[in-house]
C-alpha cells in the first residue's frame, strides 16, 4: 500500500457511524493504517439514535453478532453497556403469533427462546401489568448503549492507531486509472489505497459520483425516553409494536411506528430531523405494555434519519469495478450487528471475501436492472413527491 500518513491513509472510511467505526477498529487492530472521515461528530446520526438491540436472526452475521457482544467491553477496553437476553411482550394474539414465529426461527438457528405465560411475564418484568397475553424470553441477543458504543469503537480504533477526522465532510470520490485514489474535502484531497463508503443515507450520493448505483432511501423515525426507574431484572424488554429497552441507568427508551420518507440528503450541514406528535403513540404503547410505568415522566425524544435499500437488506460488497471501493449500508438495522459487520468489512478490504459467513446475497448485483423509479413504485417518497405523481 502506497499512501503516506501525510497525504492520506491505506484505508479511508467515509462515515464515522457505527459501521464505519467498527470497520476502522477491526482494521486498526490488524495494523492497517486507517482514517475515518465524518461530516460531523462521530456516531451522531442513526448510529446513536436507535434502540440498541442485538438480536438479528435474519442476518448472515447473526452468529457472529451473538458470539462477539459478550466480549465487546473487553475487546474494546471501553464500556458498551451490553446486557444479554430479551423479553418480548405480546398484548394481543396477532403480536403473540409473530413473536412465536420469531421463537421458531431462533430455535431453528440453535438458540434458546422460551414462551412465557402472563404470570411468567410479570415475574420477569416487574413493570408489566395484567393486560398482556404472554411473551417470549430470548436467551441470547440483548442490547447495548448505542451512544457509549460508538464512542468505544472510536477510542478503541484510535488506541490501535486509527485516525478520525470529525467535521470533515467528503464532497466526492476521486478516480484515476479506474481506481478510487482519494476523497475530496473542503481542505483538499485525501488519498487512499482502499475506500469504504459507510456514509449512511449519503452513501448513495457519493457512490453515484463514481458510477456505482447504491439504491437507498432516507427516512426519519423517532424514539422517546423516560426518567430513570429502578432496574428490572432484564433490560431488554420490548414488544407491543415497540423496540427498545430499559437502559442500564434505568430510563425506558422505546421507538416504533410511523416513519417519514425524505428526499435525498445534502452531503454536509444540519439535517432536518424533528421528533413529532408520533411520540404520543409511542407513549401510549409503552403505557399499555408496562402499565406500572404509566406515571413515569417522559423527558426526551429524538429522531434519526436512516437509509433503506429496496428490499431492506444490507449491502456489504466490494464490487469488481473499481475494485478498491467497499460499499456498506445496513439498511436501517446496523447497530446490533456492528461488531460482526466491522469484521466482515475488514475481511472484504483485506482478503476480498468474508471469512466467517456467506454474505454473497448482500451484494449490489441483486439490484441490477432495478427500475430507476423504485422509490415511487414502492411508495417510499415524500408526500410532496407522491402528490406530484398522482394522476390528474
Amino acid at each position: 500500500m502506497s499512501q503516506t500518513r501525510e497525504n492520506g491513509a491505506a484505508v479511508v472510511i467515509i462515515g464515522a457511524g457505527v459501521t464505519g467505526l467498527s470497520a476502522a477498529w477491526w482494521l486498526a487492530r490488524d495494523g492497517v493504517d486507517v482514517l475515518v472521515l465524518d461530516k460531523g461528530v462521530i456516531g451522531y446520526e442513526a448510529s446513536s439514535r436507535n434502540g440498541g438491540g442485538a438480536t438479528h436472526y435474519q442476518s448472515p452475521l447473526f452468529h457472529e453478532e451473538q458470539r462477539l457482544w459478550p466480549l465487546m467491553d473487553e475487546l474494546l477496553g471501553y464500556p458498551t453497556e451490553h446486557r444479554p437476553e430479551r423479553i418480548v411482550i405480546a398484548m394481543n394474539e396477532a403480536q403473540m403469533a409473530r413473536y412465536q414465529r420469531m421463537q421458531g426461527i431462533l430455535a431453528g438457528l440453535g438458540y434458546r427462546a422460551d414462551l412465557l405465560d402472563p404470570q411468567q411475564v410479570r415475574d420477569a418484568v416487574p413493570l408489566a401489568g395484567d393486560q398482556h397475553i404472554g411473551g417470549v424470553h430470548i436467551r441470547t441477543g440483548g442490547q447495548a448503549n448505542p451512544q457509549r458504543t460508538v464512542q468505544a469503537y472510536a477510542w478503541a480504533a484510535q488506541d490501535h492507531g486509527a485516525r478520525i477526522m470529525q467535521h470533515t465532510p467528503v464532497l466526492g470520490i476521486e478516480m484515476a486509472h479506474g481506481r478510487a485514489v482519494g476523497v475530496r474535502t473542503r481542505d483538499g484531497m485525501i488519498g487512499c489505497d482502499q475506500l469504504i463508503v459507510a456514509a449512511g443515507p449519503q452513501s448513495g450520493t457519493l457512490l453515484r459520483g463514481i458510477g456505482i448505483d447504491l439504491p437507498v432511501a432516507p427516512a426519519r423515525a423517532e424514539m422517546i425516553v423516560t426518567e430513570a426507574l429502578p432496574l428490572m431484572p432484564y433490560g431488554g424488554v420490548d414488544g407491543n409494536g415497540l423496540y427498545g429497552r430499559q437502559t442500564l441507568r434505568g430510563n425506558l427508551a422505546y421507538g416504533g411506528g410511523w416513519h417519514e420518507w425524505m428526499d435525498e440528503l445534502p452531503l454536509h450541514g444540519a439535517l432536518p430531523r424533528p421528533s413529532t406528535p408520533v411520540l404520543q403513540h409511542i407513549a401510549l404503547r409503552i403505557a399499555q405494555m408496562l402499565p406500572k410505568a404509566a406515571h413515569t415522566r417522559m423527558i426526551r425524544s429524538w429522531a434519526g434519519i436512516i437509509e433503506n435499500t429496496p428490499d431492506g437488506r444490507p449491502v456489504l460488497d466490494r464490487p469488481a469495478n473499481p475494485g478498491n471501493v467497499t460499499v456498506a449500508t445496513m439498511s436501517s438495522v446496523g447497530f446490533g450487528l456492528s461488531p460482526a459487520t466491522g469484521r466482515a468489512l475488514r475481511d472484504l478490504v483485506i482478503d476480498g471475501r468474508c471469512s466467517f459467513a456467506d454474505i454473497d446475497k448482500l451484494s449490489l448485483r441483486r439490484f441490477d436492472g432495478l427500475d430507476p423509479d423504485w422509490r415511487r413504485i414502492q411508495g417510499w417518497v415524500t408526500p410532496a413527491t407522491h402528490q406530484a405523481s398522482v394522476p390528474a
Binding site: W258, L271, P277, I299, N308, R313, I377
Partner: protein, 497 residues
Amino acid sequence: MDGVMRQAYPVDPKSAVGKLARPAQFVDVLVVGAGPAGIAAALAAAGEGRSVMLVDEHPVSAAMAGLDVPYLFGGRATPALGNQARMIEQVAGAMPGLEDAFEAGIEVALNVSVWGMWVAGPGLQVLPCAVAGLATEDRSWLCGFGRAVIATGARDLVLSFAGSDQPGVVGAQGLHALLTRYDAFAGRVVSILGSGRLALETALLALDKGLTVAALIEVRDAPQGPADLVAEVAARGVAIRCGAVPLMAETTVDGVVALRIIPVAGGAVERIACDTVCLALGLVPQIELLDTLGAAVTLDRDRGGYVPVCDATGQTSIEAISVAGDCAGVAEPGGLDYRMAWMRALLDTGGNDALACTCEEVTRGDVFALHQPRYLGPESEAMAARDLAGLLADGPPDHDQMKRLTRVSMGPCQGRRCREQVAMLLAIGARNDIGIVNRAGFRAPVRPLSLAALAAPDDAAGRDGWDVWFGIVAQWVPYDEIGTPREADYIAGDMHL
C-alpha cells in the same frame, strides 16, 4: 402528455402519511405565555378579528415546581402550591392584563403547558396543519393553529456551589413568581448573588414583600447595576459584598440556614445567616419551543445567550411563528462575560466537587475528567486515561456528546438546572470562547410529562399501519431462506415484529 394516464403510485402504508389527523381544536392565533408581551400579542390578534387562544403554564403543579420547571423554585414554595384550584384563582388574579384578554373574547388557558410545536418543513411534511402539543398534568392534546406568537419569557441561570442543590437555593425568576403571582414563598431571609439590575430589583422586591435581605454578593470589585438602584438598595440597609462568591450553602434537613462566602482574592470565609440564596446572575430566554419547531437561533452575548433569529417585529425564520418579550432576548450588556466571571470564580474557589448536574449527580470534575457515570462502576484502564482535553483534540466541545458520555444534563429537569453551566465548563475545558460549544438542543416534550398524560387516545388511527420498524417484509427473511421457495412463505406470513 395529455391523454396519457400516469401510473398511480402507492403510499407506503407503514409511513406517517395520513396518520396524524387534523386536531379537533384549531385557532387562528396561538399565543404561548401570558406575560405582558403575550397578552399584548393576543389582544392585537383578537383586535384583527382572529380566534385567539392564550396559553400559560402557570400556576405549575407542585411536582413541576419540585423539578424546577420552568424556574428555579429551589424547594421554597409553600404547601399552598399543592392546591391547584386555589392557585389558578390566585395566579389569574395576579397577572396584570389578563382581565382585558378575557374581555376581548380570548380563550385563556392557565395551568396548560405547551410541550412541543411543529410546522411543515423539510423533514416533516405529514402534518395536517401547524400543530402545538398542549397538556395539563394528567392530559395532553393537540391544537392546530394558523400562526403562533411565542412569548415564553426567560428562565433562571443556574450556577452551582457546594450545597446549591439543597432546598433554599432559588433563582430570581422563581423567587419573583413565588413572591408575586403565586404568593407562596416559604423563606424569610434572602442572600442574593449578583449586583446587576436583576439582582438589585430582586432585592427591592424582596424588601417590599417584607423579607430580610441579608446581603448581595458580587464577584467583581464593584456593584454592577445602575447607580440609582445601587443607592436605593444601600439606603434600605442592604450591604453589597464585592469581590466574593459563595463557597458553600450550610444546610439542615430544611435546606439552607446560612451561606458561606469567600473573597475571590483569598481571605477569610464569612458566614451569612439566611434561609434562601437567590441566584440573580442573569436570565436565559426560553427557546425550547423554537427548537422543536426548528427555528433558527443565534448566540447573543448581550441578550442572555441563545435567542431566536428574528426581525424587529419578532418574525422568526419560520413564517407562521413570531416571538415577543423576553424569550426573544433579555437586555443584559456584557452578560455572557459576567456569567463567565462568576463561573471561573466559583470554579477557582469551590473546585471540581460541586455538582454540575443535580439530577444525574455529575460533578464539575466528572465533566473535566470525562468520567463514566457511577452506575457503570470502576473505569477500565483505557477509560480512566480518557479526559475532556483528549476528546477536544478530536473536535470542538459538543454538549450532546458530553450528555451521552457523562449523563450530564440528562435528568428529569431536562437540563434546565445545568445547561448554561455545563456549556461554560466545556468552554473553560477547551480554553476557548463559549461560542465554540455546540449547543444541546431541546426536544419534545419540553416539559416532563407522564406517559399516561402524553399518550394518544387508543383508537384505530393509532393502530392502523403501525409497525415496530419500517414494515419491509423482505427485511426479516432469514438469510438462508433468501432465494429459496420458502422465502415467499415468510413474506406472505407478515414478518414484522
